[in-house]
């Protein structure tokens, strides 16, 4: 039977939720946050689980399970990713929802945090059978219908994450608009330009990573020209970051994706690598580069390591062997709590995910603002606004870190939590 039950007894909270909570507690301790706010901010506000049937191409109906959680909505509508992946689970969704609250607050964007996803296997990674476009459309339209009542431009804004294509984003927007009888662009961001998307959409993630690395290099007095860079996760963010860093004179010595890793001490040209992968569907056997496995790549000596893959890439087992000077967390939670301590003791400068991938949030915010006003900015305007906000956030967090003698992650969280806490104090407890 094609049934996925979700008995709570079967679901072990992954260490992501533990990690998110322990991050929060650490920052809350450092800032002496009062108990009444800890009980509110330390947990998600609401989480919805839905089981829904989808017509498959073989004529059968399959039941899927999806989640949507809101961590906090005191500063504005919740905003967060959706992902289609076999490993989606409530604990992970909760963790990302919490992280998204802090991520919005640290850059002072009026959003709360949300997250969600569907337990499914669109690319056939586990089942060996990729879902068809029609199945993905049915899945997306039905999921949007099931969570319709808690999403919306003023309640909860979805953004694409793992395995979410521009088509899926457009189907979410279309389904929501059909139910409401008029076009609602602001319910989802990451849309194609033609239906309310923003300029700079594809480059923003990479641009943000480049901007924070530039700030960190300035702080650490590291010369970027000739600095060696390793990029784990050569997806949209990773490849664009590589391109922008390459333009600044950095030497990209290794990149990786699901197909594996390639290394060249002489330096890789990111544009050529992208073109090669587009033609061959893999990074492997790229001319004049060695093929490595992804784990070895993390331990390569370099000036800058960009983590743009999945979560939990550096843990206590490989942290002692990491030989980077600066690590930029372009992915969500790529470093475990234990590894974080080890790397800090080893004086490796970590640009926490809160800052390193803030630009995708910023662009999502800019897209929402443009949708609300139905008036769209040029690429130049968008780029200027983005740079200003990212640099400003980086400086604020560094100031907080120096003032309280804490690392940047804790400082970022303290800044974020203090803003959400202040909003909660002002609004009070209903009723």
């Amino acid at each position: 039977m094609m049934v996925q039950t979700i008995n709570e007894t079967e679901i072990k909270p992954t260490n992501l939720w533990d990690a998110a909570q322990s991050q929060f507690q650490r920052a809350a301790d450092a800032m002496n946050l009062e108990d009444r706010l800890r009980v509110i901010l330390g947990n998600v506000k609401r989480e919805l689980a839905v089981n829904f049937p989808v017509r498959m191409s073989n004529g059968r109906t399959q039941v899927f399970t999806g989640y949507r959680a809101h961590h906090n909505v005191n500063m504005g509508p919740a905003r967060g990713g959706i992902r289609y992946h076999p490993d989606v689970n409530p604990a992970q969704v909760r963790a990302f929802a919490m992280l998204n609250t802090w991520r919005a607050a640290v850059v002072n964007v009026p959003f709360g945090g949300a997250a969600g996803g569907i337990v499914c296997d669109p690319r056939g990674q586990r089942s060996g059978r990729a879902m068809t476009a029609r199945e993905l459309e049915n899945l997306t339209r039905r999921f949007t219908t099931e969570i319709d009542f808690i999403i919306g431009p003023h309640a909860d804004i979805l953004v694409p994450e793992v395995n979410i294509t521009p088509e899926i984003v457009a189907w979410v927007m279309d389904t929501y608009s059909m139910h409401h009888g008029h076009t609602v662009t602001g319910v989802v961001t990451g849309k194609p330009l033609a239906i309310g998307g923003s300029a700079l959409r594809d480059e923003a993630g990479g641009l943000g990573v480049e901007l924070v690395i530039e700030q960190a290099a300035r702080l650490k007095q590291l010369q970027l020209a000739g600095a060696t860079v390793v990029i784990q996760g050569f997806g949209n963010t990773g490849s664009n970051a590589a391109r922008f860093l390459h333009d600044l004179g950095c030497k990209i010595i290794a990149v990786s994706d699901v197909s594996g890793a390639i290394v060249s001490q002489a330096g890789l040209n990111p544009l050529q690598v992208e073109r090669y992968r587009a033609q061959n569907g893999t990074l492997l056997d790229f001319p004049n580069a060695d093929t490595w496995n992804e784990n070895e790549l993390l331990e390569l000596p370099c000036d800058i390591l960009v983590l743009a893959g999945l979560e939990n890439q550096i843990d206590a087992s490989n942290a002692p062997r990491i030989r980077a000077k600066i690590i930029a967390e372009a992915a969500n939670l790529p470093i475990t709590v234990e590894a974080d301590d080890i790397l800090r003791d080893r004086a490796i400068f970590i640009i926490p995910d809160l800052l390193a991938n803030a630009s995708s949030l910023m662009l999502s915010y800019f897209e929402w603002v443009q949708d609300l006003q139905s008036f769209f900015w040029t690429e130049q305007e968008t780029r200027e606004r983005l740079s200003r906000v990212v640099i400003n956030a980086f400086d604020n967090v560094v100031a907080m870190s120096e003032q309280h003698q804490v690392d940047l992650r804790t400082a970022g969280l303290m800044l974020a939590i203090s803003r959400v806490a202040e909003a909660t104090r002002l609004r009070g407890i209903y009723p």
Partner: protein, 427 residues
């Protein structure tokens, strides 16, 4: 607080999760009726589950966070319907199971409701009225996207009463700027509540017993009858059965049980209860334990107290002609088998105690139309619903020579499955 049934939701760790039990019961019926696999996949899991964590201001100035749930199992035939309970033992699995059972219960009596259930993990006994009100208003606010007169209609359950329903209704009405009386049932009479609601479950039990006796060719006049539990359901059942001619020979409550083979007048017992709060010291009766009470010889036995009273251990010694389940789940699956072999006519809970949800449905209908029926009209409509449901379930049971419980589940699943087939799969 009304309707506190102690121990009802307390589960030890070695006990099977109620959700798994509900799914097993479903699988059994689905297998028997040859339900297609695709529909099994849809109907054996809840449609939606909302978990909320919310802060409540306490009287001492602190803020406490509570966790609550609202689960909708199915809304294909109409809005979700089901109670909200306040209990420290509430779990998501329990709420899921109860929501699923509500779907079947509403379908058995063929009222246009789906199944839902909710709860807050809280021990309300030490809380002040003000704290309970804060908790209720905030919980109502948190689940407000999900509930509504057309979407999902809560009702009182363990440790919740008509005052709590009134606060819930007021909160939602304040948000929408107008009266929303149909958003909940079990409201006080002055606020859109229905006449006949407090007696409805017990009245439905007596209708079922009368139908069963008719079918078995049994004369209820002077029939020795035992009622376990003398709360709302038990006392009304005893009164109604007495009025039908049954001889009530034994009655129990949480403090003990009484036995008098010459008969006990439940009207007099109710008056006695008002003074002493227990049946245990009622004069001219023999004292027995609650377990002994169940095993006394009788024609009609009504368990109207806790769940799991009749088990594999005592079922062989329990031999009434009719066993009418006023309570939810008083009989375990092991006991069920033994009773069926011994030809005990078991009227299953989802049919026998459906009078409550039926009059809840009448309350909702009256709120929708803003036109209220008198008690006679309500009782007449209730009798019609209960009698026709009993007939339908019993016909099915006799045709296939199966227990009424299985027949009731099959009938219910069939109705929900048919509605699902007709509506099709969106999009």
């Amino acid at each position: 607080m009304q309707r506190v049934r102690r121990g009802e939701t307390i589960m030890s760790n070695d006990k099977k999760s109620p959700y798994l039990i509900a799914q097993e019961q479903f699988d059994l019926a689905a297998e028997f009726m040859g339900l297609e696999e695709d529909l099994r996949g849809i109907l054996r899991v809840p449609k939606r589950e909302l978990t909320v964590n919310f802060p409540v201001r306490m009287d001492d100035g602190t803020v406490r966070a509570f966790t609550g749930y609202r689960v909708q199992h199915n809304t294909t035939r109409g809005p979700g319907k089901g109670g909200i309970r306040y209990h420290q033992g509430v779990t998501l699995d329990e709420v899921r199971a109860l929501a699923m059972w509500m779907t079947w219960k509403c379908a058995v009596v063929n009222i246009p409701f789906g199944g839902a259930k909710g709860g807050v993990v809280v021990d309300p006994t030490p809380m002040s009225m003000r704290e309970l009100e804060n908790l209720t208003r905030r919980f109502a606010t948190e689940i407000s996207p999900l509930i509504g007169a057309d979407g999902d209609i809560p009702a009182p359950d363990v440790n919740t009463n008509q005052q709590i329903m009134a606060w819930l209704m007021d909160t939602i009405s304040m948000h929408s700027g107008r009266l929303e009386s149909a958003i909940t049932t079990g409201k006080p009479l002055g606020l859109g509540g229905s006449l006949g609601r407090s007696d409805a479950t017990g009245r439905g039990v007596s209708f079922c017993v009368a139908q069963a006796a008719k079918f078995l060719g049994m004369d209820l006049n002077g029939a020795p009858t035992i009622v376990q539990g003398f709360g709302n359901v038990g006392s009304v059942s005893a009164l109604m059965l007495h009025d039908l001619g049954c001889k009530i020979i034994g009655i129990g409550d949480v403090y003990g049980a009484i036995y008098n083979p010459k008969g006990i007048d439940p009207h007099a017992l109710v008056k006695h209860m008002k003074k002493t709060r227990t049946v245990a010291d009622y004069p001219d009766c023999e004292r027995v334990t609650s377990q002994e009470l169940l095993e006394l010889q009788c024609d009609v036995l009504v368990p109207a107290a806790l769940e799991e009273q009749i088990t594999g251990e005592n079922a062989a010694r329990i031999r009434p002609k009719i066993l009418a389940e006023g309570a939810n789940g008083p009989t375990t699956p092991e006991a069920d088998k033994i009773l069926f072999e011994n030809n005990v006519f078991v009227i299953p809970d989802i049919l026998c105690n459906a009078g409550g949800v039926t009059v809840s449905y009448f309350e909702w209908v009256q709120d929708l139309q803003s036109f209220f029926w008198d008690e006679g009209e309500i009782n007449k409509r209730l009798k019609h619903v209960m009698d026709s449901s009993f007939q339908a379930v019993n016909e099915r049971a006799q045709a296939h020579k199966i227990p009424l419980r299985l027949a009731a589940n099959i009938l219910a699943i069939e109705r929900v499955a048919e509605a699902t087939r007709l509506r099709g799969i969106y999009p």
